[in-house]
Symmetry: none
Subunit: 155 residues, 2 copies
């Protein structure tokens, strides 16, 4: 037994009722203005205005709004990423200094430049990077960068 969705036809019903009401109104007008000479013009004019308004109202009511899809950059650092960052940092056992080196690596700096930036010797940077590679289980700096980004260790 199909259930009729009355709500769906609410506008149509409303429209019908309005039409009926208007007819009564017109009939009433007919009685009042039938003796006046220009009754017809007024009559038609009123009808025209009324139904134009009705048409506009109907259109506004029934038009499905356009959907504007806007693509927004994913938030720079959502909570999940931060949680994962902490987790992976703990799990891998990467130290602060190693993380420093990793970050500068990802910016494209050479070991020499990293050493200067951190005020340590080139050898120290090499030591850090070696241990970093062990902890990340990689062989090269490019791999380290790729994996670190994947693990949300760096942005």
């Amino acid at each position: 037994m199909p259930v009729i969705n009355w709500l769906k036809y609410r506008s149509v019903i409303g429209y019908g009722l309005l039409l009926a009401a208007l007819l009564f109104f017109l009939k009433w007008l007919e009685w009042r203005f039938v003796i006046v000479n220009y009754s017809l013009e007024i009559y038609v004019g009123l009808t025209a205005i009324l139904y134009t308004a009705l048409g506009i109202w109907l259109a506004l009511k029934l038009i499905t709004p356009k959907t504007n899809t806007v693509y927004v950059e994913a938030e720079s650092y959502p909570i999940e990423a931060f949680v994962q960052y902490e987790f992976e940092l703990q799990k891998s056992g990467i130290s602060n200094r190693e993380l420093d080196v990793l970050q500068l690596m990802a910016q494209g700096l050479s070991n020499q430049q990293i050493a200067e930036r951190l005020f340590v010797s080139l050898n120290t940077v090499k030591t850090h990077s070696s241990k970093l590679f062990e902890k990340l289980q990689v062989q090269r700096r490019t791999q380290a960068i790729e994996k670190a980004k994947r693990l949300n260790l760096i942005p």
Copy 2:
């Protein structure tokens, strides 16, 4: 001397003309149906239908549609990024093969591994990467990766 933008008022003018035409039509109807008994009801009915249609048309034509703005997190690849990709690719003059090498570099592969992956010699990969660095104006592969990501050349 201000120039009136007639196009802007095209709809209004059209509406006026339509009204005028309808009045003529109505006058004509008056002559034809004045003898008929139920002429008034037909008359009004026609007017109602016509003006409802006009109202709907007006609303559709003149009113800027409501926009529902939907925000979607940019997961895959929004248009802007793709446009930038094409633009930067053109500007830098990076060739297909160089782009292949760049992508594999960003995945952390060594030149040797890239050579195997692309079925070319190590020397070829070196040539490609050298030209790539020139075109990206960088010195090292880590810089190339960083810059390429910044320019949306690679994800």
